[in-house]
């Protein structure tokens, strides 16, 4: 192995370089690191999991927004900072918030169907008649 032939001196330098790198990265992490967030959104229902088109995707402060396409794919229109919160919301599914990390370049977001029932009482101007009731 390469490391076995390193002299003590080089080893020390190597450690120093690693240390500098570590500091560099942690500083970078703490400050703004830009990420292009991409991914695909699916919806999980009782029966299956399908790609969702038209999912509303926005930064929590609503400063930037996008929508998933026909294949459920999206690319967020601006680079985001690590730590930003993205909200995924679609009719009939539970809203999901995702914290942007350095690895958010290829997300698979799965929204869970909510348990609301679907109802409908149409508005009618049909006049009431008690005739039926009394027969």
């Amino acid at each position: 192995m390469k490391t076995t032939i390193l002299t003590n001196n080089v080893k020390r330098n190597y450690l120093l370089v690693s240390f500098i790198f570590a500091i560099f990265f942690s500083v970078q992490n703490a400050s703004a690191q830009k990420v292009t967030v991409k991914g695909v959104v699916k919806g999980k229902t009782e029966l299956n999991t399908e790609l969702l088109m038209g999912v509303n995707i926005y930064l929590k402060d609503k400063s930037a927004i996008t929508t998933s396409n026909r294949k459920g794919e999206f690319t967020f229109p601006q680079e985001l900072n690590v730590g930003d919160i993205l909200v995924f919301s679609y009719l009939g599914f539970i809203k999901k918030e995702i914290k942007v990390t350095r690895n958010s370049t290829n997300l698979t977001v799965i929204l869970q169907e909510d348990d609301n029932e679907m109802l409908g009482a149409p508005n009618t101007n049909k006049r009431f008649s008690s005739k039926k009731d009394r027969q």
Partner: protein, 336 residues
């Protein structure tokens, strides 16, 4: 003095309840024009649509107005889906597992039809409103409950049939029903006509309770006198027209009324501001006989009273009409 009391009662009432007139100092003209001129063939870009509707408006109430009005002008009632849902719900009534599966299947179909074809049923309207408000940064919620119409007068408390919304403006909750505001349905003819009814936007809770009973009674937004479920089923039947003209429906307080012959009955309503009416009539139905009568009308401030003498015995359906539009139905059983 009497006028002062009337004024005080009014003033108090307007302080108590959340209603559209809370915002009478704001004109909705701009929001309405934006709603009318904003087009979107499909709803796959709700974000963009909502921002287009709200970006030039400065108050939350105007933003909500633009969203509500846009939904009402663009989203139609979906009869095919409504009928299918009714059939399936009836079929799986006793099988909660199947019902839940159907509900999930329906949801997928429903939202796909809503986004692609701008057609839906109540819950779809309520979801859409909530989602668009959320994009605009305004808090709102969906309310499940019981909608009372000529077709559905009595309910099984386990089976709600309607969904509407509450929206929070200036820290106060307000009621609205986009489904019923959008237009008139003729289910038997599978026909829907867009006809916007402003009465369902930020409606006075006291009027709203006449045909909207929420699963959670506090969602009625009434501070006191929340009717029980049984009392709700006995309230007078009111129609869309009542929302157009009335701020409140006072008397009769029940749908079914018993009277002795040769007595007078007093119908009482509180009208909205600036309501004009030319013609008020009561239409009586007894078996196959139908006739209409003009009651004696007195009007003081916004309170309108109709006085009618029942001179013949019998069992009557009594319909209230204003400007040839039906507003309410009562039953009068006139005894000897």
């Amino acid at each position: 003095m009497q006028k002062a009391i009337v004024f005080l009662v009014f003033f108090q009432a307007s302080l108590l309840f959340s209603q559209q007139s809370d915002f009478s100092y704001i004109s909705f003209t701009k929001a309405d024009i934006i709603a009318k001129n904003t087009k979107s063939r499909r709803l796959y870009e709700l974000n963009k649509l909502t921002i287009n509707l709200t970006k030039d408006l400065h108050t939350d109430v105007e933003k909500v107005r633009a969203i509500f009005k846009w939904i009402c002008l663009n989203v139609a009632n979906d009869f095919r889906l409504y009928a299918k849902n009714e059939r399936k719900r009836e079929k799986f009534k006793k099988d909660s597992l199947k019902l839940s599966e159907w509900n999930s299947e329906l949801k997928t179909e429903l939202f796909s039809r809503l986004l692609r074809r701008k057609k839906t049923i109540c819950t779809g309207y309520a979801y859409l409103f909530k989602e668009m408000c959320s994009i605009a940064g305004i808090e709102s919620k969906m309310i499940y409950g019981f909608g009372r119409t000529a077709d559905v007068l009595e309910f099984d408390p386990a089976y709600p049939n309607h969904t509407w919304n509450a929206v929070k403006l200036n820290n106060k909750w307000y009621l609205c029903d986009a489904t019923w505001a959008a237009g008139i349905s003729l289910p038997e003819r599978k026909k829907f006509t867009f006809k916007y009814n402003d009465g369902y936007f930020l409606t006075d809770p006291e009027l709203f309770i006449n045909n909207h009973y929420p699963i959670y009674p506090e969602d009625a937004l009434l501070k006191k006198n929340i009717p029980t479920f049984e009392e709700f089923a006995q309230l007078p039947l009111i129609y869309g027209g009542a929302y157009k003209y009335f701020k409140n429906h006072n008397s009769p307080s029940k749908m079914y009324n018993e009277l002795k012959v040769d007595t007078a009955f007093n119908f009482k309503y509180i009208l909205k501001d600036n309501v004009e009416f030319k013609d008020v009539k009561l239409v009586f139905i007894k078996g196959i006989i139908e006739f209409s009568r003009k009651p004696e009308i007195t009007k003081e401030e916004n309170i309108i009273s109709l006085n009618y003498w029942f001179r013949k015995t019998g069992y009557y359906d009594v319909h209230l009409y204003l400007n040839d539009e039906i507003l309410a139905t009562y039953i009068f059983n006139i005894k000897p």
